[in-house]
Symmetry: C3
Subunit: 467 residues, 3 copies
């Protein structure tokens, strides 16, 4: 049987193993700080039990869906809803299909996370597979009704000290209002993600700006009014606990244009007449504006750049977004962020955390930039790279130039609630491994390694996000 070994991911050779164990044990039980992610705030506001194993673990996890699809399993058979409402597999049947293909996840982080989740949340240590599919499905469902598997209880069990969700600029934030009334704001926070009103390629852009105008009372057809509307929405988000903003952009390009050029871009965006390059300029100018607002209001700015979204038009047409067909693209941060940094890079109030899906930028661009600009920090490995080997490549590439103190700690960035403790555990094991190898090679003292481990596992995220 596959078991969760206490030494998993740690270096398997001595003396590094002994050092890594000592480091890991000193941080394994620290509280979790989750300053960026995509859990559903309704879970925490309503605190209802989850429906079933499939709805909890399979359907919302695009890592699982995409891999199954890649080996010919249809999204219908996995129970993924269709826009046309045509029937798809029922939850138990989808679970069986998943279990029958579980070997596909050998060697992937999904397997690490799922095995960890099953054991941690449900005490299941049987290996998932065709023979155990029904038993595990039933065992999970039987427990889902228990009080300690409700969302807020799971946060307690996982020692989640603080968790941030992510909402678009037009979101009414009702769930966070509920949480505020319940005295839970601070434990759960929102994040301001204005992609809905900053991307002219969004087909609803003009409508969304109209909604933004109604929400804020600003004249968003003027550039200054648009920025003022953002200023107001940011303040409203802060009332719901937001400490940060987040910006999902296809490239890292920014701009620093004059007022006339900005207004012209806005006019074109509202009229729907921007060229692709102008649309990129619009997004790039908006990033620079957001950096200016962050310098002013102290919200930490996150940039997640470099994902080509919805590369399968058939999947998009039949079922929609965020189901596995987003692919990274090469991303140039040094030229891209230059206008933003030249304008605001030394602003005392600015904290900018950058994430990449282009690992070549770690050592070439992000580490040198974070190792110079006081405002810039490097976010943890993102998405496909939030994995053992991904974390190893990241630490190998960034630490020598950026040091440890320009890293923003860890984000789980997940939609899957149960993966949160699993992901943080992988991070903690990997930093223990990295630091233990430095100690074993006499590059770092044991005392410093333990301090750095605690920093990277817990304090760095609090510091970076001003929690």
């Amino acid at each position: 049987m596959y078991e969760l070994h206490p030494d998993r991911l740690l270096p398997a050779w001595q003396p590094a193993l002994a050092i890594a164990r000592e480091i890991y044990e000193s941080i394994a039980d620290l509280p979790i700080v989750s300053p960026h992610g995509h859990t559903d705030p309704a879970w925490f506001a309503q605190n209802r039990p989850f429906d079933n194993a499939t709805a909890l673990l399979l359907t919302p996890d695009h890592y699982l869906l995409r891999m199954l699809a890649s080996r010919g399993v249809s999204y219908d058979d996995l129970g993924v809803p269709r826009k046309d409402g045509a029937p798809v597999a029922d939850p138990r049947s989808a679970w069986r299909t998943f279990a029958a293909h579980y070997h596909l996840f050998d060697g992937t982080p999904s397997r690490l996370w799922l095995d960890h989740s099953l054991q941690w949340a449900f005490g299941i240590d049987e290996e998932l597979g065709p023979g155990s599919a029904d038993a595990i499905y039933d065992a999970i469902n039987a427990k889902l009704g228990e009080p300690d598997l409700r969302p807020l209880a799971l946060l307690d069990r996982a020692k989640v000290e603080a968790i941030a969700t992510t909402e678009f600029a037009l979101d009414p934030l009702d769930h966070h209002r509920t949480l505020k009334e319940a005295g839970l704001l601070g434990r759960v926070r929102t994040t301001y993600r204005p992609d809905d009103v900053s991307d002219p390629d969004n087909p609803d852009f003009a409508d969304n700006l109209t909604a933004l105008a109604e929400l804020t009372g600003e004249d968003v057809e003027k550039w200054s009014g648009l920025i003022e509307a953002h200023r107001k929405r940011r303040a409203s988000f802060r009332e719901m606990g937001a400490l940060a903003t987040d910006h999902g952009v296809p490239s890292a390009m920014t701009a620093d244009l004059d007022d006339g050029a900005k207004q012209k871009l806005l006019n074109g965006a509202l009229a729907g007449t921007l060229s692709p390059h102008e649309a990129e300029l619009f997004r790039g100018q908006m990033l620079t504006e957001m950096a200016g607002l962050s310098a002013e209001d102290g919200m930490v700015m996150q940039i997640h750049a470099g994902s080509k979204r919805n590369t399968d038009p058939a999947l998009m047409a039949v079922r929609g977004a965020n189901l596995g067909a987003d692919i990274p693209v090469p991303t140039n941060y040094v030229d891209g962020l230059q206008p933003l940094l030249a304008r605001h890079g030394n602003a005392p109030g600015l904290r900018l955390i950058v994430f990449t899906l282009d690992e070549t930028a770690y050592a070439r661009e992000l580490a040198p930039m974070a190792g110079y600009w006081p405002s810039l920090m490097i976010g943890p490995p993102w998405w496909f790279f939030d994995s053992s080997n991904g974390i190893r490549r990241y630490l190998d590439a960034v630490v020598e130039t950026a040091g440890f103190h320009n890293l923003a700690g860890f984000n789980d960035d997940t939609r899957a609630l149960l993966s949160i403790p699993a992901r943080h555990d992988v991070w903690r094991r990997e930093i223990s491994r990295f630091l233990a190898e430095l100690v074993a090679e006499h590059r770092l003292s044991r005392a410093s390694a333990r301090e750095l481990a605690a920093h990277l596992a817990y304090q760095a995220a609090k510091d970076a996000y001003r929690l």
Copy 2:
């Protein structure tokens, strides 16, 4: 003396070494499946003895020639023929020059392959060098006449279950016809590589299309006739055992144009008036057409993208192509393959295997793409990267996102017959190493590691190529 150690390339630390040995021993003697390569079909059709050590091991091996040239050894002194017929070194003299510089190959895969070949095929375990050059040359030549050193006997000794050669679209396939008559088709197969009729930058393009028209009876001046001609040639290749096509292209760019635009490109290609961008569009459209034909006829499609060919005009002028002056270039697969995949990526019959010389694409593009699209698999490390460290970087970069089952196993892709067992042995050692380290870190069970090793060493190639 340098010896071939039984543990070579395996992890040198315990407990990984013991695990790796166990895995390696379980796969070391599996048959070889060689679904892509460039051996000469005349060898197998005629089964004649090789001429001498130099003709067998040195002159056809551009890995050796290029390294010697890089340290100032002239191609004349290595016996590489000139177009002008001027004399070059005789085989023994060339061998001596090679032996005198053998230390240049320390730390390179060429040395691993050659040492393995000398020992495996000829029982030579003396180190090649200036002092041993003549003795080894004579020992090789003395054995070349023996029956068990003829090409077909070598396939037997190496347990080659199936091997594919690669021929251009206009090739008469005479050797494969001979092999078919001898009942050897299946053991030896051809592969359809239509670069001769799909690249408008080929100076013979128009002549080649005329020849294609004659061969197929199609009107290749019309786009539909050109595609029909391909359809017929693919069928003819399948009669000679072909299960796959192969496409060597400078970039991964594809296109999906309308009929008018396609015909316009064809007109320009025949007239020789295409701009560089249009020529790339032509090749890109042709890739999309080939994917459509593969979806239809089930031939596995291989794309080898990203080699800048013939970068030394002097070498090209004096001696020709494939002698070491081809250099990789950055290659963008996510944008490049988008039109092809949007059109055919979900076609049930399509199997597309992609190879790269740009390692940055492994984790950023190819693994995410193979981990989504059901038609797409990642080919093994190609050319400069078919080496110990190259394989390590490849597995490190692709497995976590693509899993093991989106990998197409191993290809030796060689022109050097004796390197086939050597190259497969390196691959088998490296996968044993990779899997053993996963086991040692408690990321994979021993039983799964052994199953995956057998898959990657043997079955994956059969499955991927529908053998």
Copy 3:
């Protein structure tokens, strides 16, 4: 206390550690050859004592300044002079600020170098920090007056056999003249770096060309006169010991234009009317001209490409260049160097050493190119990558394709005199590590490993630079 462990950086696992120790011990005490760097020739010509610890170790080291700045320490507080002459921190105060933030350098090469320097030069083995700042400052200052801490004595103690400084084309070379008169030329050499007269984006370009004309008596407004002026300056530099040229360029682009086009570019450069692309063409054409001159006069040509300079306009305005705001950019060598190599790549006299800040080019471009072109060698890891992990990634990426003999050995490339022995020691430990792992994996004999270690630690640099 943090101590310099005798096994630091060596592999910490057996049997690799024992092998690495044996290799390292065989090379640890070899003389140092430093064929490229930025030490101040005045130090050697005047041989005066250094002023104080801050002036020796902190203020000239942009690695330290940039990291401190990245965590919010101001350049004023570090004692970095301002162009406006406004006061900055005194040396002791700057040192205290540095010491208070010394933990920022955990895990970075700066810490390795500085700890090594303090112990090697001053016998200090106490850890730098807020508590020890003053004591260490005083201990250093007390020793700086001693004879064996003068620049020439330091060269002796570090066994520096030869060191090259770098001067611009218009430099009068007075310090080297002094050294020549003292019989020290050969021990100290200059290097010809004509960036001041080859970059039309330099605001002083036209004035510099006027100065070049005066210095050489050539009509530099004609292309042929400009080249002739270079020819003369190169000869003058050779009289001051120069064996090499060096070219700092934003990209690796080269050009091979006809005479008319060259003259047109020169006219535009003098008139200040070149577009950015034309300015790049000018620099690229100049690289090709320099390669031609190198083929003629035998000076080794170095290209350092791919740094985006002065990315912080505020820093540039207040204090100037080379203070930490230079960031690497993606760099394409295969397309970039094609015109130069097609023209001169096979010239018997040409030796071209290429350096990169884009690690993706190591395996994809530089190793294949160096493994083909007889003129081309790969320089050691540069700048941010002259670090333990940087060296590991470099060796991992280049050796299999380029071999060991297309590598140019080591350059320290430093402005910090005391970092020279530290940096060479890190290189020697890292090559010992790399070779030991090859031996442990039975990929290389122990005897070859020791020979290669001595080559890479010492002889390779002498050979590559024709010393």
